[in-house]
Every structure is written in structure tokens, then in C-alpha cells.
């Protein structure tokens, strides 16, 4: 096994007989708003994938100048090294409060938080629920991979029943550790919640739907009619001790059983009436 030093892509592509001879048109490229550095995420981690989607949206909507992100402690605490927008790093669990402070002072900017399940559903659940209850006009991007990733695999509030983690070595026992918390279903009834959806990115169509959901959420923020929560079923190859490909199966067969994917709360039609002008 030799080490390939070259990064020049053309040399490596084995064959490309452009039979037709027409010039190629670019269909997809890394968004410019995603900073061109190696991301520290483990191979196959959905964090970097969602970072990519967010930065695609910000580039396509051309709102790099209008957007402020908040990333609290968790694997994604380094998000500001990868997202070419103004960002604030927040204490563990406090992103929703920090975002409230920003949005209240900059009501016409897009503000989003990017939180893991430990951050949002455990230590930060009060801030999360109250920000939503106040209807803060922010987007909460919630990556639910059922473990604390950064600290290497402890049980989280969304750890599945029976799921082994470093702090539920015999599997999560609901009598001792309670049941996985379904945040989206929990907060959807709050009047302040404007748009709540759960998506997954374990296959191409899921990625398309997730991007559409995030796109909606950014647009809805202009309406100033409440909080958007986009829960994304994540993965954790390292701590689930699975290959990225095996993770896609685990997400499909296990995670989605407890965390069904789909829209949980959609804005009413009349609320979206003036979306164009907003």
C-alpha cells in the first residue's frame, strides 16, 4: 500500500473518456462559506455533513453578512473554525440563551444555534424550552446522535433503551436511566414553536430533505413568528463502534424507531402568506 502524495485530482481519476466531448458544467462544489480546512470530525460523522448543508444555504441565500451562529460545548464546539460567519462559542447547554441575547439585539439578523443532544436535551433543556416558549426567532439545529461524542461516548438523554454507552455499560435501563427524550415532540406543542421537524442524513434523499428543512427554517426566521427547531438524527462512528456505513443502517433500523423522521409541526398556511416579501 503506497502513500499517495499528490492531491491533484485529475491525475488520480482513473478514466474519463468524455465521449461526447462537450465541456463539463459544474453541478456541485464545496460551498465557499465552508472554510477550506480539514475538519476534526471522525470519518463519516454527520456533524461535518450538516456544517456543509448550513454553509451551502448561507452561500445560496447570500446571507453570510446577516448570519450569526452559536456553537456550545460538544464535538461541534469548533464549528467557528469551519463556518465562515460570525459566531459565538457558548457554555455547555447555554446556546439558546446566548442566541436569545444576540437575536434580541440584532432582530433582523439570522441567528442559529448548533447543538448536540447532551447540550440541548440535558444540561441545556431549560434554556431550550424557554427560548422556544418565548418564541425566540432563532433556528435551533439539534444533532441527536444519542451519545456525548466529544467526551467519548457517555449516555445522553436520547440514548436508546438498551443502548450500551460508557455510562450505561449494561445498556440503558429505563427503570434507572429513564426513557430517551423526544425533544421535537416535547417542544412542538409550545405556541412559540413555529416549525419543528426531525430529519436524517443517512442517505442522499435524507440529505436533500434535511437541506430543504434547514432552508425553510432560515426563510421562516424572516417572518418573526417563532422558533424553528430542526432535529437531525446524527451518528457517532467512533462511540457507536461502527463503520460509517454500518451507522447508516443503525440510524435506519434503530434510531428512527425511537426518533421517527418527519415534520412534527408545520407553520399554518396563512402564516406563510407573506413569506415572499418578508
Amino acid at each position: 500500500m503506497t502513500i499517495e502524495e499528490r492531491s491533484n485530482i485529475d491525475i488520480i481519476q482513473e478514466k474519463d473518456n468524455n465521449i461526447i466531448g462537450e465541456p463539463y458544467e459544474t453541478v456541485y462544489q464545496k460551498p465557499g462559506t465552508l472554510i477550506d480546512v480539514d475538519m476534526h470530525y471522525c470519518p463519516g460523522c454527520y456533524h461535518s455533513l450538516v456544517h456543509k448543508l448550513l454553509m451551502e444555504i448561507i452561500e445560496e441565500m447570500d446571507i453570510q453578512e446577516q448570519t450569526i451562529g452559536v456553537a456550545p460545548v460538544g464535538c461541534s464546539v469548533f464549528a467557528y473554525d469551519y463556518m465562515d460567519i460570525d459566531m459565538q462559542q457558548a457554555a455547555h447547554g447555554r446556546a439558546a440563551a446566548v442566541a436569545t441575547g444576540i437575536k434580541r439585539l440584532l432582530p433582523d439578523k439570522y441567528v442559529f444555534t448548533y447543538q448536540g443532544d447532551g447540550d440541548l436535551a440535558a444540561i441545556g433543556i431549560a434554556e431550550t424550552i424557554h427560548a422556544i416558549n418565548r418564541g425566540e426567532n432563532i433556528l435551533i439545529v439539534f444533532i441527536n446522535n444519542a451519545v456525548y461524542g466529544m467526551t467519548s461516548g457517555q449516555m445522553a438523554p436520547t440514548t436508546l433503551t438498551g443502548m450500551q454507552t460508557t455510562t450505561s455499560p449494561a445498556g440503558r435501563d429505563t427503570n434507572i436511566h429513564g426513557h430517551p427524550i423526544k425533544i421535537s415532540e416535547l417542544v412542538a406543542p409550545l405556541p412559540g414553536a413555529f416549525y419543528v421537524t426531525r430529519q436524517a442524513v443517512n442517505n442522499a434523499n435524507g440529505v436533500r430533505r434535511t437541506k430543504k428543512a434547514l432552508q425553510n427554517a432560515f426563510n421562516y426566521q424572516r417572518l418573526k413568528k417563532g422558533t424553528c427547531l430542526v432535529e437531525i438524527v446524527g451518528n457517532c462512528p467512533s462511540n457507536w463502534k461502527m463503520t460509517p456505513i454500518e451507522c447508516t443502517g443503525f440510524v435506519e433500523e434503530q434510531m428512527m424507531k425511537t426518533f421517527p423522521v418527519g415534520d412534527i409541526k408545520l407553520p399554518k398556511a396563512e402564516d406563510l402568506k407573506n413569506l415572499k416579501e418578508a
Binding site: 503506497t2 502524495e5 481519476q13 453541478v27 456541485y28 447508516t248
Partner: protein, 97 residues
């Protein structure tokens, strides 16, 4: 992903695609190989400077459907397509048999 012969798969296709992979940034997670329906992508027997077995593409089979780029967590894949206009369609492969 057995190697499809070029003639068979190219015959019915209307669009010719191509992908480019930034192999030094690729982490060899292989999610793109799962997403690609045309068998374009496979794991190389060589490793990049980070020690990952990066992905290589056989672009003859590529339709430019973007699935691989969608699922790539690290945005290392760029996708290109040859726009088959009406005029050039006559000399398209379909007419060759």
C-alpha cells in the same frame, strides 16, 4: 459493485457526469460508495497523507447525479456534467448502434 462494462451502462444514459475527489481531504468513510448507484466509486488501495484509503472514481460510469457529493461529510467531492443539448444529442452514443 462489479465493474459494469462501459457500453452497457453508457448506452441508455442521456447525461455524462464526472466527479473529482480531493483525495488528501478524503477520510475514506465510504459513504459515497454506498450512495452511488452506478458503481463509479471505490476505495483505493493506496492511502493519502493522513493514512486514509481515499476514494477513486471511474468517471465513465458517472451520471453526475450528485448523490455522492450530498452524502460526503467533508465536501471533498465536486460533480460535473456534460450538458447534452438537442443538437449534440444526434451524435450521442444512443445513435451509435
Amino acid at each position: 459493485m462489479e465493474q459494469q462494462t462501459i457500453a452497457a451502462s453508457v448506452k441508455e444514459r442521456k447525461v455524462k457526469g464526472k466527479v473529482e475527489i480531493n483525495i488528501q481531504k478524503c477520510k475514506g468513510c465510504e459513504l459515497c460508495t454506498l450512495a452511488c448507484k452506478e458503481g463509479v466509486l471505490s476505495v483505493s488501495n493506496h492511502i493519502n497523507l493522513k493514512g486514509y484509503r481515499y476514494i477513486v472514481a471511474n468517471n465513465d460510469l458517472c451520471t453526475g447525479c450528485v448523490n455522492c457529493a450530498l452524502v460526503c461529510p467533508d465536501a471533498v467531492i465536486s460533480v460535473y456534467r456534460t450538458p447534452l443539448k438537442k443538437k449534440s444529442a444526434d451524435k450521442s452514443i444512443g445513435k451509435e448502434e
